[in-house]
């Protein structure tokens, strides 16, 4: 009887460790995916050209998932990333076509992302609107504006954006290197700075943060703003990835992919738990899953969608069950 409870306790502590480690949680399904891919489609999967595709595809998703994570950590949710990605990409493309100034077009993308973030943040902190509602409005408005400024047409002829897809050492795209650098900066920001500490605290107990004499609203506003910046960054990367053209529906529905990446990466939707490592691994997981399904011949969108959704549910169940078991 006693021996049994002791092994039980030991088993619990292992589960506890696994579910607490931000890196280990998403790594396990990632490994599982790689093994499955190696068994089913080894030649197609383990090739340089496929690796390039995966690394290229993951970059915009990783950018917006990281932005989404910042908002989720405060205990909120952001529904704008998809529309923000489309809008920033479109306005950047149009700026380039009309001025022929590539650097200006990059700055415009980042700035418009920042404005989207600030507006989201103000609606939530100053007007006290639930983030879900405030950003639901943004979801519609920024998509509408994208359609308006583009006239509903596909915009192409954006050669300079190719630089983000260029491979270093014939394998790793520049965009991927940049996203890794940005993730590192955000990681340090969250784990080593005062801002990061406040962010986690707000997700854990916002009222207590206020009573501690901390400007909680300012911290939340900054979180939304940084998230907006990440969407702008994602907008730029998506042009390089998507064949140097921008469709007015670019990024449609991507907010769901961003949230799904966060969930798979172990970022708790109640706030206060998670890290950029999780957001990144989560988006990698989602991208790989899609990639493998395509290699297996499931090119139809709806089949991939169904399988992805199933995996998301499984991941979420595993996470919540694991946590429940520990508690």
């Amino acid at each position: 009887m006693k021996g049994e409870s002791r092994t039980n306790a030991k088993f619990k502590s292992i589960i506890d460790m696994l579910s607490r480690s931000e890196i280990l949680r998403p790594t396990m399904p990632l490994l599982a995916l790689l093994i499955i891919a190696s068994l089913i489609v080894p030649e197609k999967f383990w090739s340089v050209s496929n690796a390039k595709i995966v690394l290229l595809q993951v970059t915009p998703l990783a950018a917006i998932a990281t932005g989404e994570m910042l908002v989720i950590l405060t205990g909120g949710i952001d529904l704008t990333p998809g529309s923000a990605l489309g809008f920033t990409a479109m306005i950047s493309a149009l700026t380039y076509l009309s001025t022929n100034n590539f650097y200006l077009s990059l700055i415009v993308a980042i700035l418009s992302g920042l404005i989207i973030g600030v507006l989201n943040g103000l609606l939530v902190t100053k007007f006290k609107i639930f983030s879900f509602v405030a950003t639901l409005a943004g979801l519609a408005i920024w998509r509408a504006l994208t359609l308006f400024i583009s006239g509903g047409k596909l915009i192409y002829g954006l050669q300079p954006y190719e630089i983000f897809a260029l491979s270093l050492g014939n394998l790793i795209p520049l965009g991927f290197v940049m996203i890794i650098l940005v993730e590192t900066v955000i990681y340090l920001l969250l784990k080593k700075t005062v801002f990061g500490r406040y962010l986690y605290a707000i997700g854990s107990n916002e009222e207590a943060v206020r009573l501690s004499g901390v400007k909680a609203d300012l911290v939340k506003l900054i979180a939304f703003t940084l998230a907006g910046l990440m969407y702008g960054f994602g907008g730029i990367l998506t042009i390089g990835m998507a064949g140097l053209a921008v469709d007015p529906w670019t990024g449609n529905g991507f907010e769901l992919n961003a949230i799904a990446s966060c969930v798979m990466g172990g970022i708790m939707l109640t706030g206060g738990v998670g890290s950029p490592v999780g957001a990144f691994l989560g988006s990698l997981l989602l991208t790989l899953l899609n990639n493998i399904l395509i290699l297996m011949g499931y090119t139809e969108f709806y089949i991939r969608q169904i399988i992805t959704a199933t995996v998301l549910i499984l991941a979420a169940t595993a996470l919540s069950r694991g946590l429940k078991y520990v508690k």
């Binding site: 009887m1 006693k2 409870s5 039980n8 306790a9 619990k12 502590s13 506890d16 080593k192 700075t193 005062v194 801002f195 500490r197 406040y198 986690y200 605290a201 997700g203 854990s204 107990n205 009222e207 207590a208 943060v209 206020r210 009573l211 501690s212 004499g213 901390v214 400007k215 206060g272 738990v273 520990v326």
Partner: protein
């Protein structure tokens, strides 16, 4: 005999909550459970109520072995837990809650809610128990004591056979406690099993027939309440000899010539939230290094006074002068900048970050001091925090462990460390020892008093506990219905003298 617990053990990650506890609960008996925070009292009743399942050991109900997988199972046997934090739904009315808890919890979903049926039952029970609550009021508008009674009445309406009362008296004032005891005696006569958890030992001795003492998850023993002595009970709870309360304070002379640190002049407020009391022309001075106790009953305006100092009350008239200058405090941020820190009464909801580590909980208000260009110097942070943890004798597994693993007393010490780390000039403590076991209570009173004197920090101490007021105060201000009635120096004051001031 109704319930028998045999060798119950329960483990949580890193702690043993209960170990081989064997207990018999008989009908027609009030069984007191005493012990410090973390002794396992709440875990034990939660196991009986099916919230937790024991890792080993068995529960027998009337001789039959039972296994409760959820509170629903326990309710089938007529077991009900009455607990401050549980079970009431704030947006429903008292009546709807009583219906839900009392019988509808098990009804099919399509069952119609017939208000009359419950109204009659409930009003009859209200009359019988001399309870005055509006049955149509929403639960969120009720006071804590009324919520407790609502739960109790719901339990009685469902014909509970076993009542588990976890700290039922902590939100109650004296008359309410006496009223509750009358009710309990009445119920005892009907043959119910009643388990009573309390921090107020005198109450346990007044009402209980049997008393079981727990310490660190282990049962010390079960005793007849009549044969047990209070001092012995305390010794068994703590495991060591302790000094009695109200001996910790050394009388110090205040140099009154100097200017007070804080002057409140003619402060009146408007309630900004439901259930708040308006303050009426408060005049108060707090000197440097002074511990000023504001003593009053629940709902007398203590919390409102505390919150008005951190900008969370709407001021109507009056002014606040801090360090000789008139100040306009709009938010806790302004207050902290001035050096005023408020520690809320509701630790779980307004104080602690239960998901974060002990260290991060302690330093949230003082991160600026430990950082350079926004980067936290973690060594500096850790040393300073450890310094206060040592001085306040915080017992914890490690700095990086979640604060939720600590006992109530240690959690409060972490919050005190948070306040002290911010290098405050004035600390406002709102019921700092409520819900904390006796040993930690006495310790916290002593430590805060000593630290205040040593570091010259002023303390505005808000409490409804007479012994606490007498133990720590330099001066005592008595507040009643939003007004300061008396301010007296704590010299040769007795419990009776102080309580009688409350009633005049």
């Amino acid at each position: 005999m109704l319930i028998r617990l045999e060798n119950i053990s329960k483990y949580f990650p890193g702690t043993v909550a209960l170990k081989d506890v064997t207990l018999e609960l008989k009908g027609g008996e009030i069984h007191g459970l005493l012990g410090q925070n973390g002794a396992g009292k709440s875990t034990l009743v939660k196991i009986i109520y099916g919230i937790y399942q024991p890792d080993s050991g068995n529960i027998y109900f009337n001789g039959n072995k039972v296994l409760f997988k959820s509170p629903r199972d326990a309710r089938m046997y007529g077991i009900v837990l009455v607990h401050q934090e549980l079970t009431l739904i704030p947006h429903l009315t008292v009546l709807e809650n009583i219906a839900l808890l009392g019988s509808l919890y098990n009804a099919p979903l399509y069952r119609k809610f017939q208000e009359d049926e419950f109204f009659d039952k409930a009003t009859k029970m209200f009359e019988e128990l001399k309870v005055d609550i509006d049955p149509h009021a929403r639960v969120m508008e009720l006071r804590a004591s009324e919520k407790m009674l609502t739960q109790l009445i719901a339990a009685l309406i469902m014909d509970a056979r076993v009542l588990l009362l976890d700290e039922p008296t902590s939100p109650l004032v004296k008359e309410e406690v006496e009223n509750l005891f009358e009710i309990l005696k009445n119920l005892k006569g009907r043959g119910l099993v009643i388990v009573f958890i309390t921090h107020r030992l005198e109450e346990a001795f007044e009402i209980c027939d049997k008393i079981t003492i727990l310490r660190n998850g282990i049962k010390v023993g079960t005793f007849d309440a009549k044969e047990l002595k209070l001092e012995d009970a305390i010794k068994m709870m703590l495991g060591t000899e302790v000094e009695g309360p109200s001996t910790t304070r050394k009388i110090t002379n205040l140099t009154k010539e100097e200017q007070p640190l804080l002057i409140i002049e003619g402060l009146s407020t408007m309630p900004s939230k439901m259930g708040e009391i308006p303050l009426k022309r408060i005049d108060l001075e707090v000197y440097r290094g002074e511990v000023l106790v504001v003593f009053g009953l629940l709902g007398a305006g203590k919390t409102e006074l505390g919150k008005s100092l951190i900008g969370l009350q709407r001021m109507k008239t009056g002014r606040i002068i801090f360090e000789g200058k008139q100040v306009d405090i709009k938010s806790p941020v302004d207050a902290r900048r001035l050096g005023i820190i408020y520690l809320p009464e509701d630790r779980r909801n307004e104080g602690l970050f239960l998901g974060l580590s002990v260290l991060h909980n302690a330093t949230i208000s003082s991160l600026e001091r430990f950082s350079k260009f926004f980067f936290i110097k973690s060594k500096h942070e850790t040393t300073e925090a450890l310094n206060y943890f040592r001085r306040l004798n915080v017992i914890m597994p490690s700095l990086t462990d979640s604060v939720s693993k600590l006992s109530g007393g240690n959690q409060q010490k972490v919050l005190l460390s948070r306040a002290l780390l911010a290098k405050p000039k004035l600390i406002v403590l709102d019921e700092p020892t409520i819900g904390i076991d006796v040993g930690a209570k006495i310790e916290i009173r002593r430590l805060v008093y000593e630290l205040a004197k040593k570091e010259g920090i002023s303390v505005l101490w808000l409490t409804s506990d007479v012994d606490e007021a007498l133990a720590v105060a330099d001066r005592i201000a008595i507040i009643y219905d939003g007004e300061i009635k008396y301010i007296v120096p704590n010299v040769n004051l007795t419990r009776d003298a102080l309580t009688s001031m409350l009633h005049n």
